[in-house]
């Protein structure tokens, strides 16, 4: 559970990941109360905010970038996610690619799902200035400034780049010193986006490396310069066969997240250092 009023006793936070501890998550089974506390269920997003559309841009044929005004009082860590509601109240969760200190807006990367209720609505109907409703930010896949020298590996597929983009920029904002390696994968070039921004980040920061990976190619496929053929996880492991002491962030399809978690664990990443966010699909 998560305590929204009061601070959990450290005894009740034993064994939890540091990103959960910092958000006042605790284990009710080992928490004894000596004063009043207010708690909510772990996945409950407590508040809703009303906000307006700043921009809607089609980045590739598969990905729309939606920027929303950041409502006053809206707190978040880059990499956490929110639920975006359409006018009928149908909601879908999207990760935050923006960074509160660097961006005045909230940025979401929305994959266009065929017949997707919310993604189609964003793409076809939303225009600048429209009012939309969002939940508060939740989730524990975000940068922790507790070990600035640790090597970071970030692996994401499709719009799983959104949280990772937020996390990389957040880490750099916190002057992270360890190496940061980002692998973004997609079946086709249509899922590869933000290349320019990421190449620029890598150019500006010696400790940042960015690799885009495309897994399905035919003879006719033209890969952009710097794009590698293969699956992101496989390429990441090829480049970094031993990763003990690293911290890993993995975002994308649930199966890819689980398989990658296992592969990175076997390559030496400690279980407590695996942060992941499986994107679970809603039925269209």
């Amino acid at each position: 559970m998560r305590m929204v009023k009061g601070t959990p006793a450290s005894e009740s936070q034993k064994g939890l990941k540091s990103s959960l501890v910092s958000q006042n998550y605790f284990l009710p089974c080992s928490c004894s109360a000596d004063r009043d506390m207010e708690v909510i269920l772990p996945d409950a997003a407590n508040f809703r905010f009303s906000t307006s559309v700043v921009s809607v841009d089609l980045l590739t044929s598969e990905i729309v970038r939606l920027r929303l005004a950041r409502p006053s009082g809206f707190q978040y860590h880059p990499g956490q996610y929110i639920t975006l509601y359409n006018a009928e109240g149908t909601g879908r969760t999207y990760s935050l690619a923006s960074t509160p200190v660097l961006d005045p807006f909230l940025e979401l990367h929305i994959r266009l799902v065929p017949n997707g209720i919310v993604s189609s609505w964003v793409h076809k109907q939303l225009t600048v200035g429209d009012t939309v409703s969002i939940s508060e930010a939740i989730g524990n896949c975000f940068y922790m400034a507790d070990n600035p020298d640790q090597s970071l590996l970030l692996v994401g597929t499709g719009s799983g780049l959104a949280p990772l983009y937020g996390i990389v920029r957040d880490a750099l904002h916190h002057a992270h010193q360890g190496i940061i390696k980002l692998y973004h994968g997609s079946g086709t070039m249509a899922g590869i986006y933000l290349q320019q921004e990421l190449n620029q980040l890598a150019k500006n920061h010696n400790n940042v490396e960015y690799t885009a990976c495309v897994s399905r190619i035919s003879q006719a496929t033209e890969l952009d310069a710097g794009v590698v053929h293969g699956r992101a996880t496989a390429i990441a492991l090829q480049h970094n066969p031993r990763m003990s002491g690293w911290r890993a962030y993995i975002c994308g399809e649930p199966k890819m997240v689980n398989d990658t978690s296992r592969a990175l664990f076997l390559a030496g990443v400690s279980l407590k250092d695996v942060y992941s966010d499986p994107f679970i699909h809603s039925k269209p």
């Binding site: 034993k14 064994g15 689980n258 978690s261 296992r262 664990f265 076997l266 400690s270 279980l271 695996v274």
Partner: protein
């Protein structure tokens, strides 16, 4: 003076934390048994491995024979047998050895783990 518990002698929760990565990595890398972990959720499984080690180390737990039985029943139908249980026992011993736990304590932990065999294998 009462004798220190096995759990405390091995090193308590810190020992479990140190052991879980080493132990689970050995299990997943072992072709004899890795098939049973193919599609399991890594995070949930890690918590279960931690519970298992806590039990084996004689630590505080709420596990019953029925939990062990129910939790492994679907694996028994997939062919889980003594040879797989033996493999896990091997990794438990090797993990503790790697952490420099004295032999007599390893033997005690192994005996506790061994006591779950019939429940795990649904006998």
């Amino acid at each position: 003076m009462s004798e220190q518990s096995l759990y405390d002698q091995i090193g308590g929760e810190a020992a479990v934390d140190a052991a879980v990565d080493i132990f689970y990595r050995k299990v997943l890398a072992d072709d004899r048994i890795s098939q049973f972990f193919e599609d399991v959720d890594m995070e949930r499984q890690a918590a279960k491995q931690k519970s298992f080690l806590t039990v084996a180390f004689g630590g505080p737990n709420n596990y019953t024979g029925k939990d062990m039985r129910d939790g492994h029943a679907h694996l028994v139908t997939r062919g889980l047998n003594d040879s797989h249980f033996d493999a896990v026992m091997e990794h438990l011993g090797a993990t503790l050895k790697e952490l420099n736990v004295p032999d007599e304590l390893i033997a005690k932990a192994a005996a506790i783990a061994e006591s779950t065999r019939n429940d795990v294998l649904g006998r």
